[in-house]
Amino acid sequence: MLKKTRNMNLAAVGAVCAVLFLFAWENVQAVKLGYTIEKVRREIKDLESSNTYLKKEIQAAMSPEKLETEALKLGMVYPEPGAVVMLDGAAGKDNPAKDWLAKLPW
């Protein structure tokens, strides 16, 4: 009888310890995850910034000034008025935002 009571007490103490350990483990995990989330957040910010810089370079490379400079280097000249005929749109109509860059999700 006495042995049974002692075993019950030991089991109760063990259960309490297990609960306390679980609680402590949970807290440690929460803090560790907190560090991980913060690290990932910083990485996201960094990648976003890097992405903005890459888009910036695309835009800068496609600026009219840059394009004109490169075209002139290749020996190109401006055509005479009326010499250009657009094949992919009705002549005389504007073709706004046709380039792929304008369609990028900025």
Binding site: A60, Y78, L101
Partner: protein
């Protein structure tokens, strides 16, 4: 030792060993239950921080979606001398990586602890400094404004200072573009590292501004104006392009650029002979003149009264109404104006938008100068008929010409097309605003026909592009000394305003050259810039020729007069 004594001693030992544990457990219970709330608040105050982050400023786009301005992260490098493990090595590494000047070493030696090293590092430099892994060197990120298209429309976009618009569209639309501040609560550990907790607010993004400017037209206008300013030695050059059917401004180029001013709405000048089209439109609309009328132009000098003699650029005899405008006769136009009368002249000038702000809303916008009706004399009317004795901004002049071009309707000029959320969802669309109908479509057609003759055989020959119907008017006005209010000798403002294609004009272009030292007439300096811009537009928009191309085997007519 009896068993009882032994038991008592064991109990005493057990009590001594267990008592502190009970006391600690009791204390813990007290702190975790009764004192939990108060202590939790105290801990939160000590370790928690609400961190504010100002996000990027909104972007500015052209109408075709090309980026004009955006915010990017740049970094400021700073170091703390006391934290450096090897100051000499750190200094050498930073100097080499950032190409610091020799004076930095002196600055470093003089500083007690904190030394600002370099500002606004781009990403490549940031990565290079980070790779050095120097203890005591910190990189502080912040938002900077960047212009991927370089100088394109820089004066229109304006300046920004610490996320606040200072001039131009950045100032006018500051509320739309301002970066939003987000707050989140963080907990720091003993070493200061952030343990993520939660966001109090969702990260807010700013709105974007989409201008009506066409990137290519803006660029071609800037290049053409700059070249002509350098060629003629003008103090200032401007080229504006507008869509007459809506009032949308497709280009506003100025050279030299002053980022603190939007010259097309702030700078005023006497429109000179370009205003003759307005007088002509009013006179035709009121029916006081017709194409059949002829006007004696007094052989170039007309004694208006005992004190004043009106002059023409070239001596002219009798001219038809069209001839008066084609040859840009001041005397002929003054006679048209006198037939119109002071009241109607004034009302039509007002109706075309002169003397009133355009509605663009820029700070510093001028309404121009149009004296009150009751102060007008017949002399004011005579000289006002050819654009003297008044002042207008370039935007007012081009908007009035667009009204003539589109069949007689005056539209409010527009520079902003729409605003959108960061993801592109439209928030606001700036629809064209019709102010009033000024002249009938029939009068518009008659004025346009005469203005086409100006380019075909009059003073605007330099604006002509073979195969394309272009209408326009040259203008050369004397500059006024702002101190004395008198005309300055040898200082002109040369201009040309026109539109094309003739039947359904899609582009109105105004070119203004302030005080050109060479090629001083509008037909000499401004009209060629018009032609240059129009030719580029024809190509990029693939506009078809609407007139027969001249036969190159036939002898071309001699160039006409450009002296206006």
């Amino acid at each position: 030792m009896t068993a009882k004594t032994l038991k008592t001693r064991i109990a005493a030992c057990a009590f001594l060993a267990g008592a502190p544990a009970f006391i600690i457990a009791g204390r813990l219970l007290w702190l975790q239950t009764v004192q939990h709330e108060a202590l939790g608040r105290m801990a939160a105050r000590s370790f928690s921080r609400t961190v504010s982050e100002t996000g990027p400023r909104g972007r500015v786009f052209c109408q075709g979606g090309e980026l004009l301005a955006e915010s990017i992260v740049t970094w400021d490098v700073q170091l703390f001398k006391k934290d450096l493990e090897d100051p000499e090595a750190a200094l050498a590494a930073l100097t080499r990586t950032l190409k610091l000047p020799a004076e930095f070493r002196t600055k470093f030696k003089r500083a007690k602890n904190f030394v600002p090293v370099k500002k606004n590092l781009d990403r490549a430099a940031f990565e290079a400094v980070s790779a050095l892994k120097i203890k005591g060197v910190s990189l502080e990120p912040h938002q900077s404004r960047y212009y991927p298209s370089g100088d394109l429309a820089r004066a229109i976009i304006g300046l920004v200072g610490s996320d606040k618009g200072l001039t131009g569209a950045e100032l006018l639309y500051d509320k739309v573009l301002s970066g939003k501040t987000s707050h989140r609560e963080v907990i720091r550990d003993a070493s200061g590292r952030i343990i993520f907790q939660d966001k109090l607010e969702k990260e807010a993004l700013p709105r974007d501004l989409h201008l009506t400017l066409d990137r290519d037209i803006q660029y071609f206008s800037q290049v053409a104006v700059k070249e002509m300013v350098e060629k003629t030695g003008a103090e200032l050059g401007m080229a504006l392009v507008q869509e007459p059917s809506s009032g949308r401004l497709l280009a506003m180029a100025t050279w030299p650029e002053d980022l603190g001013k939007i010259q097309p709405v702030e700078w005023v000048y006497e429109p000179g002979s370009t205003f003759k089209s307005i007088t002509l439109a009013a006179a035709l609309e009121k029916g006081v003149v017709s194409e059949k009328d002829s006007f004696y132009c007094e052989n170039g000098a007309w004694k208006f009264n005992n004190k004043v003699i009106l002059h023409d650029h070239e001596p002219e005899q009798t001219l038809s109404l069209s001839g008066v405008i084609e040859r840009s006769s001041n005397i002929g136009t003054a006679k048209v104006g006198l037939k119109l009368g002071i009241k109607d002249f004034y009302l039509y000038a007002k109706s075309f938008g002169f003397g009133s702000k355009t509605g663009l809303g820029f700070y510093g916008e001028s309404a121009g100068i149009l004296r009150p009706l009751e102060q007008y004399t017949s002399l004011d009317l005579a000289v006002g008929s050819y654009g003297h004795g008044m002042a207008a901004t370039p935007v007012q002049v081009i908007t009035a010409y667009s009204a003539i071009a589109n069949g007689g309707e005056l539209y409010e000029p527009r520079l902003v097309n729409r605003t959108t959320e960061f993801d592109g969802t439209e928030v606001f669309r700036n629809e064209p605003a019709l102010v009033r109908r000024v002249i009938s479509p029939e009068t518009s057609r008659r004025v346009k026909t005469i203005l086409r003759a100006v380019v075909e055989q009059g003073t605007g020959l330099s604006a002509r592009i073979p195969g394309y119907s272009i209408a326009g008017k040259t203008g050369t006005s004397k500059k006024i000394d702002p101190r004395t209010g008198k005309y300055l000798t040898g200082k002109n403002v040369a201009s040309f305003c026109g539109f094309f294609p003739f039947d359904q004009p899609r582009y109105t272009i105004l070119v203004v050259m302030d005080n050109p030292k060479r090629l001083t007439y509008g037909g000499e300096s401004a009209a060629p810039v018009f032609r240059e811009i129009a030719a580029r537009i024809i190509n990029i928009k693939s506009l078809k020729a609407d007139m027969p191309l001249p036969d190159k085997t036939k002898k071309q007519p001699p160039p006409g007069p450009v002296s206006d």
